[in-house]
Symmetry: C2
Subunit: 414 residues, 2 copies
């Protein structure tokens, strides 16, 4: 939970709170005197108005250095070079236990003078996502909205870099991030449970000329009105909140474990325990789809259809209303299989059988015949669909069938 005790709304923009103890050991990076007090047009590039600080300079330098080192494997340094402090990771401390069992981690900043970053920010617009929780809501919303700009993103005509700052639990860090956004000309999307902190963020963005959006506030307010109940104003995992690992939690875990065990036709004798059974030829996305559905609490089994190999008897014995057939365009399937065969280093023999168009078509026909013989199974065309979309279709059908006579919908009780 963000401590706002030392901060009033009026003193932020002109003199960002120096009184809260920052989790950072470095000098403050909050801009000390933003030059504008009027919001500027968000469509215009943000001029670099802010005074820089040693911290900001250091990050800027870091971006400029770009050692070119392979990002996936940061160089290992001997343990004695590392300092064990979570100074810049204050957010990681466990909320529930103050007995010293918090996260222990070396400082994320190296002492070797070299810096690496995940993403090059050059040449793209930045979106900062700031959250006092996990940040997944902000990320999900931004990702969905970016779907509206695919026409531009596809060919990198308007490259976008997103930066997620999660667990932001003090106002100093919040101001520091907004200051950095102002400097980079980034926009800020935030989910901050405490309405006064959210308002603080809004005002700071406005005064520093940063385009900003509160993702959580409006929906929370609407629901509050609808329920006639005030929101708690606490981040979901704040110490004061009751966390219940209820039925839902255990159901999800059970679903995930079940689904992993059943993957790729394993344990066909357990199909009757599945909520949903998926059937399709190799590379129709059965595994990722199963896992996606399992995350939502459904026990999923998937059964591969392989040319001339008999399917498990149990597939035809289970409730046919829970079986979903997947099919795909043969040309797309061939492309996917070729990529797969290459990445797995299949031998030429296997590869030709797996990827050749004649074989691909025959196998799809073989599957198609099985589907025709089981007309209750819906046949879902997955060509060009993302996992999320196929999952939405499966669940819509699944619930429609369970939810006879009501408007088609997926319902859940909180």
């Amino acid at each position: 939970m963000i401590s706002s005790a030392t901060l009033t709304l009026s003193n932020i923009p002109h003199a960002p709170s120096p009184t809260t103890v920052s989790a950072l050991s470095e000098p403050k990076s909050t801009p000390s005197s933003p030059a504008v007090s009027e919001p500027s047009s968000p469509t215009e590039p943000q001029p670099r108005r802010l005074k820089s600080s040693p911290q900001l300079n250091r990050w800027s330098r870091a971006r400029a250095i770009r050692s070119g080192r392979k990002l996936g494997r940061p160089v290992q340094r001997p343990a004695d070079e590392m300092s064990f402090s979570n100074s810049s990771l204050g957010v990681i401390i466990d909320n529930n236990n103050s007995d010293g069992s918090e996260v222990q981690t070396p400082s994320p900043r190296g002492d070797d003078g070299e810096c690496v970053t995940d993403v090059t920010t050059a040449g793209g617009k930045s979106i900062y996502m700031v959250s006092d929780g996990t940040g997944w809501t902000a990320e999900h919303s931004v990702n969905a909205a970016l779907g509206q700009f695919e026409h531009c993103l596809v060919d990198r005509a308007c490259a976008v870099n997103t930066h997620l700052f999660s667990g932001i639990d003090d106002v100093d860090r919040l101001m520091e991030i907004i200051g950095q956004a102002a400097k980079e000309g980034a926009m800020v999307v935030y989910t901050l449970a405490d309405p006064s902190i959210a308002e603080t963020a809004r005002q700071a963005c406005e005064l520093w000329g940063v385009t900003s959006l509160d993702v959580l506030g409006p929906i929370t307010e609407s629901i509050a009105s609808h329920l006639g109940v005030s929101p708690s104003g606490l981040p979901r995992w704040a110490p004061g909140r009751k966390v219940s690992l209820g039925e839902d939690y255990f159901r999800r875990i059970e679903a995930i474990e079940f689904t992993i065990k059943q993957d790729d036709g394993a344990l066909p004798q357990n199909l009757h325990n599945a909520d949903i059974v998926l059937a399709g030829v190799s590379r129709t996305g059965k595994t990722p789809l199963s896992i996606y559905l399992a995350q939502k609490g459904y026990k999923v089994a998937n059964v591969p259809i392989v040319m001339n190999i008999e399917l498990p008897k149990s597939l035809f014995e289970v409730d046919p209303e829970k079986v979903f057939a997947l099919t795909i365009n043969p040309i797309v399937l061939q492309t996917i299989r070729r990529a797969r065969a290459k990445s797995l280093g299949f031998s030429d023999d296997i590869r030709s059988n797996y990827c050749e168009m004649d074989h691909v078509k025959l196998e799809l026909e073989f599957a198609g015949k099985i589907f025709q013989q089981n007309p209750i199974w819906p046949v879902i065309e997955v060509t060009g669909k993302a996992i999320e979309e196929t999952a939405a279709i499966v669940l819509r059908l699944y619930h429609d069938r369970k939810n006879r006579c009501s408007m088609p919908r997926i319902s859940r009780r909180y």
Copy 2:
């Protein structure tokens, strides 16, 4: 994509479009003459102002019938009783292929006179989530916002029922749903890519006295301003949209498949191929956490720590910066293990060893010693944390370590 051709904004509220061909074979359920033209206060219960229709009556009857049949297993009916039409499932038709390869499915409404519903709506407030796509964004946002009302939801003082209507691709169905929301006194949260349709939804809600919120519009507009690019106005999976199964797609699938194969200590020789390695005793949530991270594109391996069983050598040979240790409060662990032992039907022998407090504590100490010997591994306390939260912590640390010298963040390029 919603066809808005037959609909103008001005003619909806008073005479909901009768011209668009509805996907439903039943008579229209759109209210024909809402009595109010002023938005009413959203905090007040919505009076039942709307004329009912045969369709609405049928749904209402369905809710009243409630046969008590076990919901998970709808009664099987012989195939010849089923009609193969996707009349009420128009949204399921594949967007990319008009060659007849769409979803085939029996009608979701039974002919046996009995109806089942997923959720009893009695005794709770309803939230309708309406989307022209998957609806996951609306669901995610509502779920996040409901986190602000846990104090009330925990003891069911303010029970909430959510209803997801995804793939709503014609205005008639949209109006039908809003009409039903008005009748039920539900609020409506929507993600509709076409701004004019979103505006239509807003106006219809306003005029029918339904509290409503556009979840996608504001963030899309903000990003449009920031990028200086107009949004496409097309749902993500609309026919006109370029769908690219790019690097990201294949990376995610690869990550999921890798993670499944490595689950529970399998294939320790592959640990060096993982992006992230999780270590902890049984029931610290390694598997669901691994899967959650895999969905985000990270290849995860998890290694169980079992009392007096030697850990794989490879765990100590991989880059220690990618290993994350999980720990948990012993009392909570015992509770979770007891539930687990019960659900798996463990014998008394195994159960006592697995669940006894002495054993639980010793095993956690055993793990703790290993963690101490490997001080670069961050130790994450998972007690009371949801999978999403632990995942956020792991990824924050993971990216901080890769992203040395920049502000701690998780970055991504679109």
